[in-house]
Amino acid sequence: MEPLRALDEAYNRFSHDPSFKKQLGRWLDTFAGRPTPLYLASNLTRHVGGARVYLKREDLLHGGAHKINNTLGQALLAKKMGKQRIIAETGAGQHGVATAMACAALGLHAEVYMGSEDMDRQRLNVYRMKMLGAKVHPVESGSKTLKDAINEALRDWVTNVQDTYYLLGSVVGPHPYPTMVRDFQSVIGKEARKQILQTDGKLPKAVVACVGGGSNSIGIFHSFLHDLEVDLYGVEAGGESLSPGQNAAPLVAGREGVLHGMMTYVLQDEAGQVQTTRSISAGLDYPGVGPEHAFLMNAGRAKYVTVSDPEALDAFKNLSQLEGIMPALESAHAIGHAMKLAKSLGTKDSIIVNLSGRGDKDVEIIAKHIPQ
């Protein structure tokens, strides 16, 4: 608890410090590539027939995903706290890559835990992390995916807590991580809200984002929470089906539990053992979810739905061929739901989809599933 308390204190101090904010803002603008555009996907809109679909282009950020918003913030904080060694977990590898990038730029030493199964299916990102100077530790325990990488990172942290900063990649884990990561990601929603008001002169009918741990979704939802006329949709990985072990949809198919220091919805069996998950996208393959999403669902403010593996692949194909944009398989889940939703809305309505990452890392997997 002491390290969490120290982190909470440091975060509270620096997040209100104008010079920290200014410094982070400069890194986000000049290194990561903010602000990102809000793009009207007019071909997709025409194809679907219904509401206008806008894409918040987080895929254009350095590293290819929204993850860099958080890693720059936390790496800067770690530096202020005097920690030189940074550890992180990664699922699809996007958070690992973004951690490696932020650490290289800020002169910190990065070590990343990654499930060995994820290392196989996201090989490209393993190479990228290594080239960026990070050390990658394969995790062989449990299901060899994201949850086990978090277990291993937590074990490392308690062992080396004096000189090590744990740079968690999503809005999960013990306090203050869910709050802190949300704050660093909330730049997405702040920009998107301003941009849609500029282009449309009104708020969108809905905001749609994929939910694994839930950082890109909470990041875009946050600025719209008080706009009650805007529907918020979190899209979980439906995998093969909603049967146990066949998906990664804790909000839709799980129940309340405690995992990784948070109380939230967890995919678990009768006895409280955490279940293995299944999704075509490694970044959504996690049996828990950020506790703020659990809250938003229970409060009725956000709706959570699933998109299956085949639907996500379909969405990937559609966006690639109609718009010339290859979404990450994670973000393809959001596109998949947005396409269904747009069809049910009028042409005067608009939807913002958070295109949280680009799909280059997934081409190997997709090539296996989509015949050429």
Partner: protein, 252 residues
Amino acid sequence: MIAYLTGGDPDPKAFLANCTALIEGGADIVEVGIPFSDPIADGPVIQASSMRALSQGTTPTGVLDLIGELSSQFPVPFVVLSYYNPILAMGLDRFLRKGHESGVDGIVVPDLPLEESDEFRNMALRHNVDNIYLAAPNTSRTRLRTILDKSKGFLYLVSLYGVTGPRDLLSPQALEAVKKVKSLARGKVPVSAGFGVSQPEHVSAIIKSGADGAIVGSALVNIVSHHLESPNEAPDHLKSTVAKLKASTRKS
């Protein structure tokens, strides 16, 4: 001398025989882990034992039943170690009632911090089960005072920075931490130290520095895992190991 084994590892029958050996070897308290899929406070040895137990279909209820069988035969106190989710899944009230009926005297929940523990603590009090808190070498004095105030049974002192697992040497923080905690406990709550405590010399050093008890887990679980092909031989080894550890708790 507190001896730990993971419940249901490697199978229920062998577990019962192994626990009996701990008691015959002179364990003062037997600590039984409820296997969990994500044991974040545990190193590879206990992780593997948890997976073995789970692969045999071990459930929290099953482990409590096994403890029930032992406690009806032996007067030694039993402590359960469980991560919070299996307790929550069964329901706090049901878990603690069942625990009490099975002869469980105390319970350690490594992933339930003091700050979140009021409901559990009150429920444990109601069911006459001691809630045993953990403290680490870096726990602040202020927080330590509150933890000691709310502790029942004993305080479980984590003697190092890290997870469970046998180590060659006692951690450099261990003895310092024992002294700090003992001075704050002022005899109100016994203090037992574990994590990385695996050799008779470790036990002896910990007791000499003032601790009331030493907790040995992974070193004993290792004996179980080294005899998976010949489980009948494990009890003898466990018994003699515990006897040696017990002997080293004597201060003279």
